[in-house]
Symmetry: C2
Subunit: 429 residues, 2 copies
């Protein structure tokens, strides 16, 4: 753990730095994957799965419409928890539905926005150490509310080729149409280019390793949008003497267990709290399973003391955390002055893990300073905004001189003429 007391602004950039990866080699591999999938389609997907996952795939695509949700064999307690989480996530994302309103910008010139679903979306759910069915809920529920026409989900296969029951149940609950048993850069290439068994999608969502992230960036070249560039997960906790140090430590540990490159930061307005949190981290971590990840992340973690809150808030905005716990007396000050963060958790009883699973907010969030320019996934991520305008004869007369003058000044005579030809007719009526 590194400790900083009132660090000078000159040092903030280095404190805020995330681990840098040289992805030149990865980019090359991902380019080859795209080229191969473009030419060989499903054959390439089967070959990569054999090569990277050592699995002989018989079927790539699993049609969820074929099965009945009641037939999925899942532990009843887990089923109930997934159902509860579903309800909260659904409720929060449904509240984000857009209500269109017509604006009369000039007399009889009406403009409005409306939203439409992105028709075909692809969700990527990483494999790794555990089946991340919670990410299925986070991506498929807003797709369901947005009424996307086709939702496909790519996830690396299990060794025996089966699909994990919790993933299957969550996907079926959210009306996912098809599960594709493919992971890695080849899954992203397939969804971006389309193959015989994998439909081309308009937008790709979801987290993944550096290959997946690089492939998502590549897919933009093929008319595919992405939710955001993703990196290792992060948590910044802001605390003062009001915060319970054991709770703060438990939150930092929950972030640290994600992986050895997880980012864990404590910003404290109270020196004594830092010592207490440090002690609690040692005590609590002894009892945890993923101790290797935790030791690695915690050894890279940063504990930072600021004696004034103005500097603290400025530093936090510079860091732009993915997850941000505000656990201080004067929480209003920090909420009002917050500019850059993904998702915010307020008070002693709002641990990050509540939002990771069940409070209702989305857990697909911008990392690596991207909270400065990206939003987390929300209902809007699955829709496009379209503008509409309708102008009456009178309305067109009202803005005609403005349009004609501006078009002429930009040297666009035919633009001007499209107005003039109508105005001449109206005048001669």
């Amino acid at each position: 753990m590194k400790k900083y007391y009132n660090p000078k602004k000159d040092n903030w950039a280095s404190i805020c730095e995330r681990p840098l990866f040289d992805n030149t080699q990865i980019k090359k591999i991902v380019n080859d994957v795209f080229d191969n999938v473009k030419v060989n389609g499903d054959k390439a997907l089967i070959q990569y799965t054999k090569k990277f996952d050592n699995i002989d795939l018989k079927e790539i695509s699993f049609d969820l419409e074929r099965i009945d949700i009641s037939e999925i064999d899942i532990n009843p307690e887990l089923k109930e928890s997934i159902d509860n989480a579903f309800n909260n996530i659904y409720k929060f994302h449904e509240s984000q539905l857009f209500v269109s309103k017509k604006i009369e910008t000039s007399k009889e010139v009406f403009c409005w926005q409306d939203k439409r679903p992105i028709e075909n979306v692809g969700l990527y759910i990483p494999g790794g150490t555990a089946p991340l069915f919670s990410s299925v809920l986070m991506l498929a529920i807003p797709a369901m509310i947005a009424k996307c026409k086709k939702v496909i989900l790519c996830t690396p296969p299990k060794k025996n080729g089966d699909i994990n029951k919790a993933i299957l149940y969550s996907a079926k609950l959210c009306n996912v149409n098809t599960i594709i048993n493919i992971g890695g850069a080849q899954a992203i290439a397939a969804m971006s280019l389309g193959t015989k068994n994998v439909p081309k999608v308009n937008k790709i969502f979801g987290p993944g390793n550096q290959y997946v992230t690089s492939a998502k960036l590549n897919s933009i070249d093929y008319n595919t949008a992405i939710d955001m560039p993703a990196g290792p997960s992060e948590l910044l906790v802001l605390a003062d003497s009001k915060a319970n140090p054991d709770y703060v430590a438990s939150d930092l540990l929950s972030q640290a267990e994600h992986g050895p490159d997880s980012q864990v930061i404590l910003v404290s307005l109270c020196k004594a709290l830092i010592e207490k949190v440090e002690k609690s981290l040692k005590n609590q971590s002894k009892k945890l399973d993923r101790i290797d990840f935790i030791n690695k992340s915690i050894s890279n973690s940063k504990l930072i003391y600021f004696e004034n809150k103005e500097e603290a808030v400025e530093f936090i905005n510079e860091y732009a955390p993915e997850h941000y716990i505000i656990n201080v007396e004067d929480e209003t000050y920090f909420i009002e002055n917050l500019v850059n963060a993904g998702s915010v958790f307020i008070g002693n009883y709002t641990p990050e893990s509540a939002g990771d699973y069940a409070s209702g907010t989305n857990h697909t969030l911008p990392t690596n300073r991207n909270a400065k320019q990206y939003s987390g996934v929300n209902l809007d991520s699955f829709m496009k905004t379209i503008t509409f305008q309708k102008i009456s004869k009178k309305g067109l007369i009202n803005i005609s001189k403005t349009v004609e003058t501006m078009a002429e000044a930009e040297g666009l005579q035919a633009h001007k003429n499209a107005v003039t030809i109508r105005i001449n007719d109206i005048k001669n009526e």
Copy 2:
């Protein structure tokens, strides 16, 4: 002009195809530009301006705070038109301001969204045949309403190094902070990487040629977001016997004058109208200045007849036009069934050029089928959505079992523990 009568679905993909560019060579050049700007900063920018624009730049950056708007020498009629357009665009984009609402997803579990400005934004305004001051309004007005902290505008210099007065006036009117006298891929590289005179921005907006577009895609690798990948401009007009053929022709011509690669499509539900529009195109185009561009675009244009409206609407959604004029009797049917378009213009008296300049809607829109997955620029483009949550003791008890069960099933014990440690305390109180 190519004409199609009830084209079969097998042919739609080729009809919808936009001109394809091989950008392999451009990508290489743009990579070199990024490398050069990264190492040599402003020096590289000055060298490129000498090389590509043949101009010796003395100053790169022009601080708009130094000047008073009343001192800008601009034709009063043009000034009044820009002011009128400003008012309409401002009014429409201001109506897009977000109103936050708290949602109680479970008892005493409160979740809400709020928006914050993207702090530093960069606007790119292409040079070319005319000063596109209208694009300054379209990008800088929403930045102003969003309260972005720093707005910088890059545009290629005039031969004498001066800044066009209409661009200067529009930029000052919208509180742009700095104008940078640099164009092309080097301008995008500078805003993405930052140099001594060009601040690094969080997001880059605006149209441009293939070099600019390729550079914008490159900038994503450097923690910079972009509005959208842009391509040549497009218009699809849907018309039936109710539409005035001269108006339809004038709209198609206004699109055709943009450049030789502009896309112009007429979908007609009436065969006779196609002939009338064709005749009117010939008559009107004779009187227009940019006849070379127009002849080229019109010769590539497509006139398509559909006898049933279901097929027409399906085709239009497949084409996903940037600009879409609905000029038919049953406009409601086509509005309700529309899924993919950038901006929609309804009726005989709503020419595209109204929205290009002054109705209030934004003219920075997705081209090249990107309307399937991207929105046009709007107020939200200049903001991020942040989620917040606050849970009481009672609220945490309500969702604790759900979180604990799911965390355990995902093998994330420390996530579970962050809830358990709090619940144990609450139970012991």
